[in-house]
Structures are given as structure tokens and as C-alpha cells.
Amino acid sequence: MSISADYSAITNIGSLGAGPCANTVELFDRSYSETATTAIDVYLENCQAINKLWINLDNVAPEFSRLLLLGYVSAVESYFRTILSSIIKTDKKASADAHSYTVPFGAVLYQTRRSMPEALFEGISFASEEAIRKALGKFLAVERIPDDIKSSLLEFEKVCHLRHCCVHRFGKLGTQNGIALGLESHSRALEKPLALGKNELGEVASWLNSFVKSVNNFMFRTLLDRSTSEKNDYRIAWKWMYSRDRANFARFYNLFSSCKDGVPSPDMRALYDRFVLAKKPRSKKSSVK
């Protein structure tokens, strides 16, 4: 038996070779093109694909559930990137508001004009309540987030802290995340790994679905509401006739509607009719009757 002279050979390495990332281009599926057309549908399809990985298992190992949690939060982040950039591409006011924001020079050189807005979010991670709150203010000019959205954002923040443990500490609760979740109650869990069972994982995944859909509805409502607002310089001159408003309404509808969800969005005409009933200025009834 020969003994190695290398005193640092404390583990047996195997063959490192040239590395798996010699050609990273090859690692991306360049033939892929999105089948879903709206941000919410892309998100739902991504989640459905993740769901199928575990939904029929009897038990989900904690290691696996932690990876799945990363996947779900990543899908949420991706949703916000897509929806915000498509809002900037579609809504005149959002586009004008974004004029003063900077993008990396490389994006200007290599991104197409259509995909340029994506570059606005390069430095932003949407895996936090704060980032989403700020983005809503910055790109949708939402001054006050309604309480229901606010409280679900706070809940989302908790999910993000769980995710943070999974990304950086193999699931173990660190002090920073413990502080954010409430150290007094979480002190017993410090340095203990996150162990989502099948039920808990389902709760989180289902909640995230509902959360994203509620924010989706909220943004749709925000854009429609401000399109009728006197204060908005880019408001839309609604004619309150489907045939004439159809194109304008469709631009918003096509941003937010879903056909991939279990219950698809109501059709455009139905939502337009509801919009008219709620927003059309009421003609002053002639009191002579």
C-alpha cells in the first residue's frame, strides 16, 4: 500500500476535469419559447410543473421540500419580473414613469427594444416584501397599498425568510432570519433545519398561488382605476361602448388574464361590462318625469 506524500489530501477528490461549465450557453434551452402568454399563466404553469414532482408521493423528504420551496419562490420572483416589464411595455403612464430609471449599458447594446424593460429589474430580487412594495410604488405609482395586500405581503416576507434559510444554510434557521420571524419564539429553532412535510409544503405552495393571483387582480384593478382618473395625464378616453373600447380594454385584459388556471378568467366582454357598470360616469337623470 502506497502512502501519499500530500499532507493536505484530507479527502479523496476524484476527477475535477475541465468543469461542468466549459460551455454554459449549451446549458440553456435556447429552443424554448414561452407557451403561455401572460405573466400569471407562466407562473401557474411553472408551479404546476413543480407540483407534479411531489404531489403523488406519500412522503416528501425535508431535503426535497426545501428544494421545492426554492422553486416556488423563484416562480413568484419571475412572475413579478414579467408582469412589471409587460406593464411598462403596455401602460403609457407606467412607461413614462420609468423614463428616468437607468439600465446597464450592456442591456442597451444587446437586449431588443421589446425586452429592454426586463433590464430595469436586473439588480432587484423580488424575494422580499420590501422589493415588491417598492416596485409597486415605483412602477405602478401605488401610494398606499391596501391592507389586504399589505398583510399578504408580510406573510410572503415570512416565506422568503424560510427560503433564505434553504438557499444559504441548507435549511437551518439563522439568527438574521430568526430575528425577522420573531426571535423570542424562534430562539428554540435556531440552527435547526426547516422540515416541511407534505401538508405544510402544500399549504405554502397553495398560499403562494393565491397570493400571486391576488396581487395580479390588484394590479389589474389599479391600472383600470387610474385609466379613468382625472389626475392621470395618460388616462384613457373610454367611450363606454364595447366595440370602441375593446382594443384599449384588451391591452389590460391580455396582461393579466389566465387560461391555465383551474378556473379561467371570465371572458373579456364580461369583465368589460362589469367595468362599465362600476366606472361609467352616471348621466344626470333629467328630473322632469
Binding site: I55, I149, S206, L277
Partner: protein, 578 residues
Amino acid sequence: MSGPLNSALAGNEPAALEQRADYIPAEDLIAETAPDSELFKRVVRALLTPSLKTIVGPRGCGKTHMMRYAWIQCQKDAVKPFAIYVSFNKYYRLEPLLVSRASPPDEFHAWALGLIVLATYGSIEFQQGQNNAVVDLEKFSSFSKSDLERLIGALERNQPLSQTELELAKSLTISKVQYLIDKACKLAGRTRTVLFLDDAALTLTPSYLIELLDIVRALKTSSIAPKASVYPGTTEYSSRFHTGQDSTDVFVWASVESPDYAVDFDQIARCRFPDFDRLPSDVVEIFRFCAFGVPRAYLTLIQAFNESKARTQQAKVNQVVEDHLSARLAEYRSLSTKVPKLVHLLAVGEDVLHGMVRVIKEVNASRTDVQLTIGIVKDELTPIVRRMFQLLVEAGLVYDADEVKHGTPERIYQRYIPHAAALLTSRALTAGDLGGSLRSTAEAISAKRAKHPIRKKLEKYVTDPSSLRELDFALPPCPKCGAKRVGEVQKFCSNCGTQLVPVSTFDACLSVRIEDVPGLTAYQLRQIRNELPHLKTIRDYLALQNPVAELITVYGFGRRRSSRIADVLRSFVDDFLS
């Protein structure tokens, strides 16, 4: 079943018998009340005590009537507590929020407390000369009446809330409401308050029920005593509300077997029908029994008998009783359109009801005394079977006659009495008597009762025993791929991974087309179609902020016609959702 719809159609015809006590004007309510019955006195007494009570009874047994009666009594008598009456009967309009908003409980919370504040103002207003008092209260609490009405309207129409509405909703807290109630109580010159919370069963939206029971419990103070009216078994749904500890139950449903039953019920009928004592005694006996503990049913039966065109008394009675049974059954079955997942439970329940009648008939064929009661061994009542019976009890089709111990070894039996109209239409009491004459039926009703209930296995009451074993909620398949659901709490489809969310059943009502609503004339429909093309469904109607103002813009629609149309549509919605 007539109800508000028919009375809306009949206009203000004085003869029309209003069935829901919510719609009876205060003076008529007093005139129609027979306050001397033992049951009535007991319930009203419980309503005025300073403790939290749940008033328990099935649909139509008089809960609303007693609450409104007690409320009026309190208004008139300065010695009694300050009373506030709130009805939550429109709760189902908030059901769609459960699937379209981020936090429906907050909105429900604001809706419920908002209604209580408005009702507090209402009670103060009712006392004459107190008009400025409401203005004072508004200033004191910073809850403006018109703002609250707007908020509640927006919530019931599922409209997104404006910033000011959101702020108002947020400012409605339990402690502020308690503070306001105490202030109003003082203004009214009373020392304590009773808070009548009617229609608090919210059976179709259990998640709101849990919220409401929390509110009820939290509102209780030494000076405020909430009283909530619920269906039998309702409070079992909430793990946070404990009957006995948090509140005591007061049962309102009179048993047809109770000794005071005949006297109490005849008093009620006498108030409403001056010539009541001229009715044939056999007919009275049959109808009283057939009413099955529900005062309003008794009145409807007599009214229908008086109006019947049938030739003989026998034919009139048969027709009226049969109609009554089919109306009860139709109401029971209509639950399955509101809550589709109950469809199997309702169907098997109806089978059990008929099965009980069949067995009772067989037993009575060979006895001298009369048997009415079925005893089911408690072990056979699994949670799902119990739920099935609960639905029958809630609908008033089966009377829950409590538990009893029998036999050696001793076993606990849950006793049930099937609806009297079902027993009568099958001639289950007079099985030996082929003709089933009025006389023999009336005699059987007043005959001596069997001492013990019929004790048979549960499966004897169903046509197919496997239906009991397979009894379960009817869960819809995955809406996307059609795969079957595995369980009630399943979050995602096991085949395609789609999120499985509850579908709003309120949508069924909202999607009804205006032209399918009974009670509108061809002319009215044509004008609406031509001049209000957007007004196509009930959904569109409910979205209107001021329906009458909208309708009045139509050529040929004056104020009266517009409000009549609005009345018909509103009653349709209330009927559908109650």
C-alpha cells in the same frame, strides 16, 4: 313556498301572508304575536338576560319573530334593556370575496361590525325625538351613517373599496363598537344592552361563521349581551366557540309532542285569523300537527285551506298538506344548488326521511297506540351520517328529540321524528285505515303514543344500504383535466398540478338572466333590453349603485314602476340566498 317574492308580486295586498318575519312591519308583528305561550315567554326572557345566548332552531321556526318582538318591547318599555337588532341574512353576498380577495375575513369583519353600528343608530332613531342623538353618536364615534351604508353596499356588491372606505373598514374595531353601544345605551336612558344578532348561522360559508362567532364572543361585556340566532349544530363548526362555556343554547323549535303545543299554537292562529274557532276541529288538529312546530307553517296551512278551491274538506286538507310537504322538500333540495358538495348528503337524507316514514307506517299497522319516533344507536352516527341528519334538522324536516338510553347492555339512542306532513301524506299514523278520513287521522294524532322509539339499524331506512357506506361530500373533479379529487382538503390536482380552489356558488345566482326572473312583465323586459343593454344578469343588477335611478332613465319607467322592478329583483336575490 311564497315568501318575499310572492308578496312583492302581490303588491301591498293586505291578505298576503308574509312568511319571513324580517319583512313584517313592526305594528303588524306585535298584532300577530301571541305572547302568552310558554315557549315564547321562555325565549323572550332568555333574550333579555344579561348573558350571551345562542337561539337555536331550524329555518322558519320563529327565531326572527321573537327577536324582533323582543326588540320592539324593549323600545317601548324604559325598564327593559336597550336593544339592538341586526340581521346577517345578506352574508352570502360576501361569499365571492372568499375566492377573489386576499383577506376576506377582514372585509367580513368590517361588514358585520358596520351593520351593528347602523343598527345601533336605528334603535336610537326608532325612539321618537332622538334624531339629534344619532348625529351626536356619529360625531362621538366618527362612524358616519352614510359612509357606513356606502361601505356595506360596496362590500355586498363585491366592489373594490376606495381609500376612504378602506380606512373606515379598518377603523371598525370591537372596542370602538362596544364603546359606541354603551354610549347609545346611556343616551337611551338604559343601563345595559341586549344585542340581537339574527341569521347568524351562515351555514353556507363556514369560514365567515367562525369570524362571526369570534365577534359575538368578543362583543360580550358586563353591559352588552349578544344573542345569536343559529341553526341546530351550527356552532359545532367553530373550534373556538364552545356552547355551554361561552354561551348557553335556547331552543326555539316547539315539539309537536310537547304538552303545551296545542294551546300555544292555537293562540298564534287566533291572533291572525279572527274566525279561527269556526274551523272544523279535525282540520285544526291535522294542520297543527302538520305545522310541525313552525308557527308560520301553521298560518300558511290555514290560509291555503281557506283559499282552496277543492270540493270537499278532505280533498282540501290533502292538497294543502301535500303542497306543504313538497314546498318543504323543494326548499331542502335547493340547498344542493347553493352548496353542490352536499348533493349526496341531501339525496341520501331525503331517502332516509321517506324510509323513516315507511318504517313508522309498518309499525303502526299492528299497534293500538301510535308510534312517531325513530331511535338510532349513537354508534351508527358517524360524523358524515350526523351531518346528513343535521341538514334534515336544519331544514325542519326531522325533529331532533334528544338522546335516550335503552336496553341491556345500555345503549344510547338518538331520537328523531320525521316531518308530520310526510307522515300524513303517507298515512303512516293510520296504517290500518284504508280511507284515512279526517276523523281517523285527527284521532290518531291525539292518540296515546308508544313508549319507546322504533329501534332498527340505520340501513333499514335507506333503499340501498351501500348509499350509507359510500356517503361522502360530492367533490367536483379538477376543472382543468377532469381528474377525480382524492380528498376534501386537497390543494392541487394529483394529475396536472392545478391549484384546486373553491368555486363561488354565489355565481349561480349572479348568472341568472334578468329575463328568467319571475315577476317582470314582457313590456318591462323589452324596455330593459332596449334601453339598458348592459343590464342582462342579476350580477349586473347588483353592481348598480342605485338601481332605481338607473331604471328610471328608461322611457316609460316612472319612479313607482322602477321601484317595483327593483323590488322584484331584490326579492329574487334574497330568496335565492336565504
